[in-house]
Amino acid sequence: MNLQGQLISLGTLGNKEIQRVMRIWVQTLVPPAITMTLYFLIFGTLIGRRIGQMAGFDYMEYIAPGLILMSVITNSYGNVVSSFFSAKYNRHLEEMLVAPMPNWVIVVGHMVGGMVRGLLVGLVVTGIALFFTRLPVHNLFIAVSVIILTSAVFSLGGLINAIFARKFDDVSIIPSFVLAPLTYLGGVFYSVSLLPEFAQQLSLLNPILYMVNAFRFGVLGVSDINIWVAYLIILAFLGGLFTLSLVLIHRGVGIRD
């Protein structure tokens, strides 16, 4: 298949995945909007008022970037893991496996679907956040690039989860037992400088900490960690997970007998 054919197959898969997000918008776009509204109401307005300021910002303003990124992470991951696993489970993944489209198209096509859903949800949550607080945007390039890269990283994470998943339970194990704790401990609701030294060092092992802080830097101009280290870590995860996805699909792990 020549490059033009490969791009056509990528466009077809990407479009198919985006259509899926739009077709089931009540499942994909509405729930995060409701959840995040509750977060802003309870943590921001009710509890946040008593907390006061953090890193020189109102608590609501401080947590808003983290909440936006949290919804992007959850939805990018969730979209690909459910789309790819249901295609595998119902066997229509075979439509792609029998076709001459290269493996990178399968990976990128699904990643695009996850990113579109994640970023759309991010946009919706940003809109909701603006009802409750202000988002000054310290550096637009950093804010946008970090959110896009993070979305790509977790779309690939969802893809790898789906590749290994054998039953529906396997689809929810990683989000529940790995992703949620890492997100909540990733500095969404607090600055790691509030933690004891040992916990601060431990937090540095959490990749989500770097993403949340890099995005917060883009929006508010404050970060617990060096922004360039954050970029390095995000790009390393992106490269590593992309390569791993390609290898797994090439070997047929979880998708070919």
Partner: protein, 317 residues
């Protein structure tokens, strides 16, 4: 050139089951080929390997000269596959399913839409194009899978049990359609449990059992290997007492039906001469069972019967 060439193909699953034990198979371009075998014989595994859905353990597969090992994309471009199990996205619209499949083969969107209409019309599904796959009947889903397999105009179409669970009318129209596209140049490999279907449609037949090819020949040659055939004759008048026929093994099934076993060194003319001599008038005649079915059973069943057809197996190996 062979549409499909398989050499010493072996598949051992992770649980140790050896599904294919070194099969060799060649299907000529333009052929209509039946791949038969009992459940679990290895047919679907072989098709899975050819269509890249199953990883092989060893051996070579070439599709129109393109090796799956070195030229996979070109091999895949030549192939269309209709799997045994329904593998449709149940919540997607018919026209999207088919047009997307064309897109996966690199067909531009406008052309993909045009081709989707063409194949859906051929499969009499165009009126249902806006419906989702889940709402189709079993027969319609099978036709949709055929439409999807044809949308990129494959040179080799592989159908794994395409008419399973399909009513007689649709089955016959599928046969007609498959004959038509075969005449237009598409090579077809078919697996089926309806041996009548294979006998009616296919020019060559391969029989696989326990992961080995036990027969591979022209359909006519395979059928010639039958050492005996059993016919049922219907008589015009009731037969009260059956005369003694020295040369033929004739039994009375009921007052209007006789069963006759004919071996390869006997002929039907002699039988009819004897029947006429006995004053028995025959108005119709049929095989007691499908001829291919007879060969199939003999080749695949265990025990003494298999010995009777050993020459076929020996020749194929």
């Amino acid at each position: 050139m062979h549409a499909l060439a398989i050499r010493n193909l072996v598949k051992t699953y992770a649980n140790g089951v050896r599904a294919l034990d070194g099969i060799d198979l060649a299907v000529a371009e333009g052929d209509f080929f039946a791949l038969l075998g009992p459940n679990g014989a290895g047919k679907t595994t072989a098709i899975g390997i050819v269509t890249s859905l199953v990883n092989k353990t060893s051996g070579q597969v070439e599709v129109f000269g393109h090796s799956l090992d070195t030229d996979l994309a070109a091999a895949k471009s030549c192939l269309g596959v209709v799997p045994q199990e329904i593998n449709l996205n149940q919540f997607d619209q018919l026209d999207n399913i088919v047009a997307n499949q064309a897109g996966f083969y690199g067909v531009p969107r406008s052309e993909a839409r045009r081709r989707a209409q063409e194949v859906l019309e051929q499969m009499q599904l165009w009126d249902r194009r806006d419906d989702i796959a889940r709402n189709l009947s079993g027969g319609m889903k099978r036709r949709l899978m055929i439409a999807r397999a044809l949308v990129h105009k494959p040179r080799l179409l592989i159908l794994d049990e395409p008419t399973a669970g399909v009513d007689i009318e649709i089955r016959r129209s599928m046969w007609e359609f498959l004959r038509e596209i075969n005449e237009q140049g598409t090579t077809i490999i078919l697996t089926t449990h309806y041996l009548e279907e294979a006998e009616k449609l296919c020019r060559h037949v391969g029989i696989i059992d326990h992961g080995k090819i036990v027969a591979n020949d022209r359909m006519t040659s395979i059928l010639m290997k039958l050492h005996r055939e059993i016919f049922v004759l219907t008589t015009r008048e009731p037969v009260v007492a059956l005369p003694l026929f020295d040369e033929f093994d004739v039994t009375l099934l009921n007052e209007n039906e006789l069963q006759v076993e004919i071996t390869r060194n006997q002929d039907l003319n002699g039988l009819f001469r004897m029947l006429s001599g006995a004053g028995i008038s025959v108005i119709s005649m049929r095989n007691k069972s499908n001829r291919l079915e007879e060969v199939f059973f003999r080749l695949t069943e265990r025990g003494g019967e298999k010995q009777a057809v050993q020459p076929i197996a020996a020749r194929a190996s």
